[in-house]
């Protein structure tokens, strides 16, 4: 097939990110130590351009291009926009931390941008091969980011664990893909879906493949019982790396699941639905229960992630447009909440001090009432208390589960969310009810960070009060 320049149009956002990464890589060589902040400016610029391009080339009919390897549809537009926006916030929050520790170097931004590129490719993938490439690009960058503080033993250990377990997960996924390829003779989602429709579940190889795919998805999401890496990595990695790997990649993981399970293997819903139910129940249960016992807030947020993954699975397993839309809403909202939560931890950190324990949040209301209010909103949103958007997200997934007549699953989910409410409330307790430690210094933050955090926190409130717009975007992705 001859090269057609029009094919490049839909992937302009990806191209913009790639170019930015390359430019940062080169420019960084010529920057003096005190001018390293320019990397930051360049990266933000690249992200903003990519967001604008996503808007510009987005909309309209579903397009498939590059020999059926890539796709651009309503879902990819929205997910790309969300990934880019969340990453933008993540970069803004990370800057003061990096600067204080002399780590404001080009590598961080190059790795971060390439990880974003990987996520974008996952979102626009239309074949198992492309999605795998995107996944690996993202994962390799994240492994390196976890080990970014190279003098930190903990960071190195976390990176090693992440790499080994991540590779295992990828291996499972790849094995599953090979089975599917063997059974259907294609790696493109369209033809696979067709072949599945013809063969149905009679084909054992196909079902065997799905098991491995779901395990791979479970690994990438961090769902129980494939969650072992999550707490250790969250605790060990430097907070900016956790911020990057804990927020936007959840949206990408959602895309991974939806592309493979819904676009490719919708015909085998009956098979993967049961598996997802098990993963969802285990994740919600274990995540919420174990989070209670944590005193390290990063570790607590890790278990909280696991429980939220359970809720995202509740939407996915519905297997209907409604369910996918609710899971998508949840994934996006979760990414915004996680970015805000880790952002607050970065704000609380300062030179030579990392905010890692719940105690470090003590008396935040006395130190800075505004940040305290934002963190409280984030925590109430994670707990699913109205009027924050966390409630709307939970409402939508519950709705799609009850639609399936799985009322017991909905009851289980709300029961676990009561347990979960406890540890989020405990964070609010530290912020509001306790007085700050005597040696706690005044919080110093830049105007940019304050503006970003304000936007982030108020967005959770505004989306909770006016969820209709985002929701209809999510639903438009699955008509």
């Amino acid at each position: 097939m001859p090269f057609d320049a029009a094919n490049l149009l839909p992937i302009l956002p990806e191209i913009a990110i790639l170019i930015t990464a390359c430019v940062v890589l080169v420019v960084d060589l010529y920057l003096k130590e005190k001018d390293k902040g320019f990397n930051h400016t360049l990266s933000l610029l690249g992200l903003v351009v990519a967001i604008a391009l996503t808007g510009a080339v987005g909309g309209g009919e579903r397009q498939i291009f590059f020999d059926g390897n890539l796709v651009r549809d309503a879902m990819s537009d929205l997910l790309k926009g969300a990934i880019l926006l969340v990453s933008l916030f993540a970069f803004i929050y990370a800057r003061p931390w990096l600067k204080d520790r002399g780590m404001l170097v080009g590598e961080f931004y190059v790795l971060g941008l390439l990880a974003v590129l990987g996520m974008l490719i996952m979102v626009s993938a239309n074949s198992f091969l492309t999605i795998y490439l995107g996944l690996e690009l993202q994962a390799l960058c994240l492994y390196a980011l976890v080990a970014f503080d190279r003098d930190s033993k903990q960071g190195a250990e976390a990176a090693m664990k992440y790499f080994v377990l991540g590779a295992l997960g990828s291996g499972m996924l790849l094995y599953g893909i090979s089975m599917i390829y063997g059974a259907t003779g294609s790696i493109e989602f369209g033809p696979v879906a067709q072949a599945v429709a013809e063969q149905g579940i009679s084909n054992k190889v196909l079902v065997f493949g799905i098991v491995f795919l779901v395990i791979g998805i479970g690994f990438k999401f961090g769902a129980v019982p494939f969650h072992m890496w999550v707490p250790d990595i969250y605790e060990g990695a430097p907070t900016p790396a956790v911020l990057i790997l804990g927020s936007a990649p959840k949206i990408a993981a959602f895309a991974l699941a939806i592309r493979m399970l819904a676009d490719g293997l919708q015909g085998l819903l009956a098979d993967w639905q049961g598996m997802l139910i098990i993963l969802a129940v285990l994740s919600m249960g274990l995540g919420n229960l174990v989070a209670i016992a944590q005193t390290n807030i990063k570790r607590m947020l890790a278990y909280s992630t696991i429980s939220h993954v359970g809720f995202i699975f509740l939407g996915l397993l519905a297997g209907s447009a409604q369910g996918y839309a609710s899971a998508m809403f949840y994934a996006i909202v979760y990414a915004v909440m996680a970015a805000g939560a880790f952002g607050i931890l970065l704000i609380l950190s300062r030179e030579g001090f990392d905010a890692e324990n719940l105690d470090d949040l003590k008396g935040l209301n006395d130190r800075d009432p505004w940040y305290a209010a934002m963190m409280a909103i984030i925590m109430f949103s994670m707990a699913g208390v109205p009027p924050t958007v966390g409630f709307m997200a939970k409402l939508l997934v519950l709705e799609s589960v009850i639609r399936l007549d799985l009322v017991w699953l909905a009851l289980l989910a709300v029961a676990f969310s009561i347990i979960g409410a406890f540890y989020y409330l405990r964070v609010v307790k530290f912020i509001y009810f306790d007085r700050p430690a005597l040696n706690a210094p005044v919080l110093v933050t830049t105007g940019g960070v304050r503006a970003a955090m304000t936007l982030n926190g108020l967005a959770l409130l505004a989306l909770g009060l006016f969820p209709a717009a985002l929701l209809s975007l999510c639903q438009a992705a699955f008509v």
């Binding site: 109205p386 409630f391 709300v414 409410a421 209709a468």
Partner: protein, 531 residues
Amino acid sequence: MNEFPLLTLVIWLPIIGGVVVLASGDKSANLSKWIGLTFAVLTFLVSLGLWIGFDSTTAQMQFVERSAWIPTFNVEYFLGVDGISMPLIILTTFITIFVIVAGWEVITYKPSQYMAAFLIMNGIMVGVFSALDAILFYVFWEAMLIPMFIIIGVWGGPNRVYATIKFFLYTFFGSVFMLVALIYLYFQSGSFSILDFQGLQLGMTAQILIFIAFLLAFAVKVPMFPVHTWLPDAHVEAPTGGSVILAAIMLKIGGYGFLRFSMPITPDASASLAWLIIALSLIAILYIGFVALVQQDMKKLIAYSSIAHMGFVTLGFFIVFTIIQNPALSSGSVMGIEGGMVQMISHGFISGALFLCVGVLYDRVHSREIADYGGVVNTMPWFGAFMVFFAMSNAGLPGTSGFVGEFMVILATFRADFWWAVLAATTLILAAAFTLWMVKRVVFGEVKNDKVAVLQDLNARETFNLGALAAAVLALGLWPAPLMNVMHATVENLVTQVSVCKLPAAESADCVLARPAPIAELNGRPVAATH
């Protein structure tokens, strides 16, 4: 219908006021207090518009506002009031003024956040009473927890963290099951409108499960025995204002829930489980009455007294089912519900006032132990007079509002079953015992210690608070007719609604309630009441 969005104004005015107070910050404490008071008074005045414009001849929803909120799920911003919710809204805006005034000098730590929390809560609680969309209701219902959680946790007593987390988790626990029930009802009716829910035909199993889900939510809120244990803790630890709001309004939201959700949506389940609620109510009245008797802490005593008095409310509501199943009786049912409603409003005044009284003493002596007081009347004659008056009305003295509701409920219960009425009536003795004994120990007698000897009598601010509430208690006690008139049509309609079996035709053999006569009446809210 009224074009002007009055309800929206009553909900959002205080919330905006709260944001303004927050923005004013703590640089000038007086400024934030005055802004807070201005907004509270304004909200009360605006809410009086609901009373003035209210048409008490109809059971229809009034001041209706309806616009799309989440169109894909048919969730609407749907507000409206009837004779049940309107008085409760005015109670809410009324009590908030006193709460703001009561915190005037006492709250020194971040007063602007304190004022803002109460203002925001005021708006949210009005929202709970006026929401006619189930999701909107749920959003307000849960959102209410956040300011209260912070009020108890930040300005509360020594054990505040335990108390406030217990309060939050208890209520959250109850309400999430209600959420599942609401979503289930949505799939049955196709919309989240509460009025549509009330017109649904539901099978017995579904009704029972939904009833239990609602019961979990409302029983925790009321609170009913055995899920009442959060209340004494929360009351004791909360600052005075928090206790007042909890007792005067938050508990009423549970009672309101029974009237708005449980009874009209699941009448058959309510009828078949009425014995359970009646039993729990009688336990609350008797057992909690005895528990109140032995309390050493004044706030705890009033908290237990609240549980006992709310037992009357639920008794009045559910006794209706016994009455309508008995063809020989016709009239008592309206009286039961109206008695429960009057009891709610009256208890809002009285319990609020009693907590303010305790607050007055606590601000001076910093103790809530009954044993630390004695002979207060010698140094604080005005305070003594108010305290005795409110204690009398808490005991149900005729002429005060406490008497009217209890009398009506006992009368209705008497029609249903003589022995239940006897049990319920013992509360008059018990309530008199535990309140008057407390008053005797605190107010009368010799001056007990040096702290009591130097007490200053009420200042102007406190006199205003207690005086206004005393006037309200007297007014409602002597002339309850205006309140009854407002709710009469709505309550009659509610009784008609709950006396009709809602089981589908296949199960109609199991109807304990009357078979539906004209089908038209079932679809949606039946309109005009039968006069």
